[in-house]
Amino acid sequence: MLSDALKHKFDTVIARYPLKRSAIVPLLLFAQDEIGHVSDEAVEEIARRVGVRPIEVVEDIGYYSMLHRKPVGRYHFQVCTNISCMLRGGEEIFAHCAKKLGIGHKQTTPDGLFSLEEVECLGACCGAPAMQVNYDYYENLTPEKIDELIEKLRRKDQGSRIKD
């Protein structure tokens, strides 16, 4: 079930555009923020609201690599291996993440905490090698920094579970 807050958000976003279908991408991002991926239900709902067929929404999701049809990890590691990062060790960072997390490109850890993806330029070349985790950027990465980050995120997750 989509939350009322999300549905309300849909309404306000659609109202901003002269052509309803122009709102598809922002709506998808909001849906993904809430659900973690774009579920079938979200696809149907968005299609209905902007007046297109569901398959047209699916087409858009496929076009944008940042939109996911299937659940990804709670922390989605997007490691850049494009030119600047590659020259500064991006591929090694990616390999390190893969080894440390025990997963490969577009895979998720069994506990659903982490997922990994090799991506193109994040627009953060000045801080290469760079990576994006959900919406946060991490720059000038080294294997040690990766290890620290993973530890921190694990602890954070446990903390939130205890609180639950």
Binding site: R53, P54, I55, E56, V58, E59, G62, Y63, S65
Partner: protein, 743 residues
Amino acid sequence: MVDLIKLTIDGKPVAVPPGTLLIDAAKQMGIEVPSFCYYPGLSLQGACRMCLVAIEKMPKLQTACTTVVGNGMVVHTETPEVANARKAMLEFLLTNHPLDCPVCDKGGECELQDAVFRYGAAETRFLETKQHEEEKKFSSLVYYDRPRCILCYRCIRVCDEGMDVNAYGIGFRGAHSEIIPNRGEHLECEECGACIDICPVGALTSGTYRYKTRPWEVTYTGTVCNHCGDGCKTTLSVRNNVVIRANNRDHSGVNGEFLCVKGRFGWDFVNSEQRLTSPLIRKNGKQEEASWEEALAHTAERLQAVLAQHGPGAVAVIGSNRTTNEENYLLQRFARSVLGTNNLDHHRTADFSSLVRALTEAGAADRHATIEEIGAASSILVIGNDPTHQHPLIAYQVRQAVRQHGARLYVVNAGEIKLRRQASQYLQVSPRGEAEAVRALAGQVTASQDLCTGEAEALPTFAQALTKESDTVVIFGDEIQGQGVGDLVRWGLTLSGRTRFVALGDYANSRGAADMGLFPDTLPGYQPLSSEAARQQFESAWGSNLPTTSGRNLRSILEGIRAGEIKALLVFGANPVRTFKLEKAAFAGLQFLFVAELFRTETAEFADIVVPATSFAEKSGTMTNTCGQVQALKRTMRKAGTRSDLEILLALARLFGQKWPYQSSEDVLREIIALVPGYGIPLPGLLVGHAVATRPEGAPPPLERPDLVFSSRDSLFTSGTLSRYSWALNSVDEAKKPYGHAF
């Protein structure tokens, strides 16, 4: 007259109407500009860049498929620059293409193969490993091979614009782009296979044809689909006496390239292992295999015994909705002049008689619309029926009329049929309220309170809008019958222009069965049996007297059997037990039941004699579609052990001591042309595969009782007996949807 646009293509002058696309102008001159994404009748895409041509004074090469002709244009379609550009485009298209032509289904009829052959893009500069994707099964009938796909969007557009199903999209991006189906990994659609047919390469392949043959190893025969009443022309591909594909190869005829799922895949009942191949005779209560000679001799004997003991009134004949005109004609001759009975009928799925009667009375016998006229109409009124399911070609023509030239569609229906999507006015009425709606539209009655479920003003608004139209084509289902047809025709003819009519009958030759006089009270060509002149015409041609009193209609035949008054029944290509939901007891009073059929149907199970009939693929003859257009059926193959209904009737007549002058179905057709009013059609057109319109005119008696005319309401995936023996039609999940589902 608009001024033509004058331009020069490859040094030759040409004049074409304004708005013509360059690619079409070139085609008119016999110049083929290669194209992948361009497809006549579909929206423009401009995706493949194969159609690049050089236009003088334009800086770069232009796409001929999206460029509109202009006065004084000088165009070159084959310069070295053009050839180079096309070669480069092909090199890109082949970047990830597997080049598995030697095993690909499309090899030999592939547009990509042809183009590469023409421009020689065989070597490539791309050294990277090709991206591979496994083939995907979209449904039991449609498979997709991503690496072969050249992303021309034809499949997407034909499904959106031709079928109004919208089942496809493009997923992902760049070199990873691929065609995606509407239900995750699967298609949920009408399964028409148009996307497979239109795919220029071997990316979409057919569940019944794939990897079975090469296109040059099969024989092709143009014939007519045997399912619904629309009469699509089709080409059967036959290999080793097995049909493996159907498509309308040359896109000619009433349907162009259209075929629905039944036409494209549902022919496979022909190959069914359950086909009867030997006559069966009931001995000691059990049906046992017997020879043809024994079965036919036995039939003649038993019939003669019943005739001798109880007279011709104790014999009845039920004819078929899917046998040929020639067979139906001979069947009524056999019943009338050999058995001496008018106890003759068939399952009437539309009231053609009342239509002919009403049009003749109004002096408008030429107002039958053809399939092509539906597609060209400016205004169409559809009353009752669900054409998307029951008449897929007519539904397609209606959609085309709306899409291609803005026709207005008016729908009167109790259900929310799919065609309402195209309707400019939609009048929803209470169940079976269509006939009342017609009377109300005609101003004969004021609509009752609960007739229109929508708003109060719906009916007057609807009627008002129709009066502004002209040349309307009126299409109606079994909801309008008897008196109702007269009401409709009289009112329809008051609309302005040439109003034309179509009655929708269920099966491939429902119309032909009516035209050929499979009625207890009507002779061929809708001539009343009571007419001395009509009777005499046939009597003198056949050299025998015809019984003068009307026989029993189908309901009355069934009642007569129950009452023990009918002792012998002959059934040709029909399954009354299922159609009328009869119990075995219903036939208890019969002394003799004869059935000619393809399969051991519920009716055949009760029979004393069953003979195996040939299917449409194994015989020649003619069929008349629901619009009254005659087309030729051509024999494509043989089936050992079977005989056509025509051969069966000729043999029976011989056993009755008759000397009938026919050697082939063509002999019978010549007699039909000479004797049956409205069938005076030119033979040559028919033989080269045209659909020739008939013009029946007559005064058949009014419909005796309303329960004689009823449609079976077949869906897209059913077709009476035949579909039950089709693997393809039963293999798709969509067949399990509730009746009338709109995809």
